[in-house]
Symmetry: C2
Subunit: 350 residues, 2 copies
DNA sequence: TTTAATTCCGTGCACGTTCACGGAAATTTT
DNA sequence: AAAATTTCCGTGAACGTGCACGGAATTAAA
């Protein structure tokens, strides 16, 4: 081993009198080596401070692992479509050389489509899986199989009770509601708040925004106990219905100046907001969808709180890659992403 | 080339009838190849969609380039110390296998120390350099040498007029002042604002915060024309002097409720702020120093606008690595980082 | 003790690039 | 036309690891 070069496997062989093959076997502890040799090699590794050369390793094993992403699929401009862009945004140009990513989409309102996607996913024989769980029981079936096959998996967006996941990347939903309330009120007393919600059939579906709403309500109780919180329900597929609902509400409550939605669909209100401009109104929503950001820079929306679904995916892939390629465990198992506050004055550099 | 394997250099040789060596020469366009063969190879590359195997490449050329970071050095808890942590935060575990990073620190108030650091830096024979420029003329001397030696360099934090830099990572200073004003006032009329500044001898030193102040003033003119903006100067090394200055100011102007600083030192005011709590006061500062973030979660400071000096360093190293190792040019030359808004409600997950 | 079974280990090629070296081919000079 | 350049190109040995194969050493069975 030259002066300041890194030690290689061959240095270990020289120190132990053993051969490449044996050293390799203990490095990947795949057995077929005597206790005596095993310890000798371990000792040598310690002494030399040996670290495997990732480049040689990747070259030899011939690249291309597959990471499967099991995640809802939705139209361009939607939350899940934004998340999907994170698959190609892997920070790591070198890891991407050895890792392929494939998206297995499913319909977030149809448990059966999850089954089908999982089926295809398993056929692709992945080395790691990213899961955005929408249905608890369906997800449990998948993870139990993965655990049996010793395929590592990580959750994004939300997670289910489970002991075997490698990591989780998501937003602290309760706290995001708290933050949202603070941004909406500016920490000052407010009389009326309108919460716009989406009606859906919740059969068996876990809705993470309930936690967000809880955080919101708690903040309001603590800081704004006298504020009246109104709710209206809308159907995202019915634009005229939305405008009608808004008109009706504001006819009855003309002195409401604060509007909030807890999901990523604040852009649905933009047509109405544009038609009814109003000074001093404050509108807060979530997630950096293209439509939302446009509304923000035009001033229709005041604040957007962003959880970066795309970054969640990217980090999940990163964690899996490091696990698969380098054998590393992530530093933290549960990773709560930063909540970004976006206004019209910092949205440009996003 | 097997069915869905990636094409290699050998595939190109088969297609062109040339040899490894020649193909390699055109890939790294280092001459010694006829026009005819050059074009043949280029055509084959195009057709096959050839991309070099990074792992094989790194292995063959034998790792370990050096990236030098020429950046002020300061005490723990300071702006530049935070920036320095970004050197080890390289996103890319594989790149770090082939790249070493070394910090050459200098005293940001002493132009001569920059010379000394640059000297040492040159002796280390780096493959790439990250520069945080504090002195214009000193920096120009360095970059001209680097250009001559064809060593790529990138600026962080601020940049000087220069045609040869590979990339720049920094904050949009003017816009950050604008954003700051919006966060301070909440978009509502304000009567008095106190700007706390640091007195220093500006001989030859470029102070990027002047742009920030300009953005701040412009916002105030546009949105708050009647507001009076007061300035006081403090000496960071004199804590009692700071408290005295604050006391004096507030004795004369008891109805000021908005305080702002344009550099990273808002924590200097915390002792005074703690002693004089006041409901409805708003304090805005910059940068995610540990001390600043503590002040934020305690409520002494209302908002922190963060430019992530550590991420700037990390991205600079990333860009240089990709250039050196992969020969890639960065997507954008001037990169304005996102400005994060931190309040006590989202600081925990930072 | 011999043979069979098992456990353990070394050898050698493969992965795709890089680069120094030497030599063939083309061009220029005598 | 031969010699001297110059231009261009092919060869082959690294780089460090992974893994299949076969064989040696050890233990168990006969």
């Amino acid at each position: 081993m030259a002066q300041n070069e890194k030690p290689t496997i061959m240095d270990i062989t020289r120190l132990t009198g053993l051969s490449k093959g044996t050293v390799d076997r203990v490095l990947h502890n795949r057995g077929e080596v005597s206790k005596k040799s095993y310890e000798a090699v371990m000792k040598a590794i310690q002494e030399l401070g040996y670290e495997p050369n990732v480049f040689a390793s990747m070259l030899a094993k011939g690249g291309s692992h597959l990471i499967a992403v099991l995640m809802p699929e939705d139209a361009p401009g939607s939350f899940w479509h934004l998340a999907a862009t994170g698959m190609n945004k892997s920070k790591d140009p070198l890891l991407t050389g050895g890792v392929k990513v494939e998206h297995f989409g499913y319909n977030p309102t149809d448990a059966e489509s999850l089954r089908a996607a999982a089926e295809k996913m398993r056929d692709s024989n992945p080395s790691g899986v990213v899961i955005a769980p929408m249905f608890r029981t369906g997800t449990e079936m998948i993870t139990s199989v993965l655990r049996e096959l010793k395929i590592p998996y990580v959750f994004i967006d939300s997670k289910i009770d489970d002991s075997g996941y490698l990591a989780y990347f998501g937003m602290p939903m309760y706290r995001s509601g708290y933050l949202c309330a603070d941004q909406l009120t500016g920490g000052r007393p407010v009389n009326n708040v309108l919460v716009v919600r989406i009606q859906r059939d919740l059969q068996g579906k876990s809705d993470p925004t309930v936690n967000r709403r809880a955080g919101f309500m708690d903040y309001m109780h603590e800081h704004c106990p006298d504020c009246v919180i109104h709710n209206i329900m809308i159907d995202p597929s019915d634009p005229v219905g939305i405008e009608k609902a808004m008109d009706e509400y504001f006819e009855a409550n003309p002195d409401t100046h604060h509007i909030v939605m807890f999901n990523s669909r604040i852009h649905l209100l933009v047509p109405w907001l544009d038609k009814h401009p109003q000074r001093g109104r404050r509108v807060v929503g979530f997630d950096n969808l293209e439509a939302n950001m446009q509304a923000l820079s035009r001033g229709a929306v005041s604040v957007l709180i962003c959880q970066h679904p795309d970054e969640q995916v990217a980090m999940a892939i990163q964690a899996l890659s490091e696990r698969i390629v380098l054998g590393k465990h992530p530093a933290r198992r549960d990773n709560f992403m930063h909540m970004d506050i976006l206004t019209r004055y910092n949205v440009d550099f996003y």
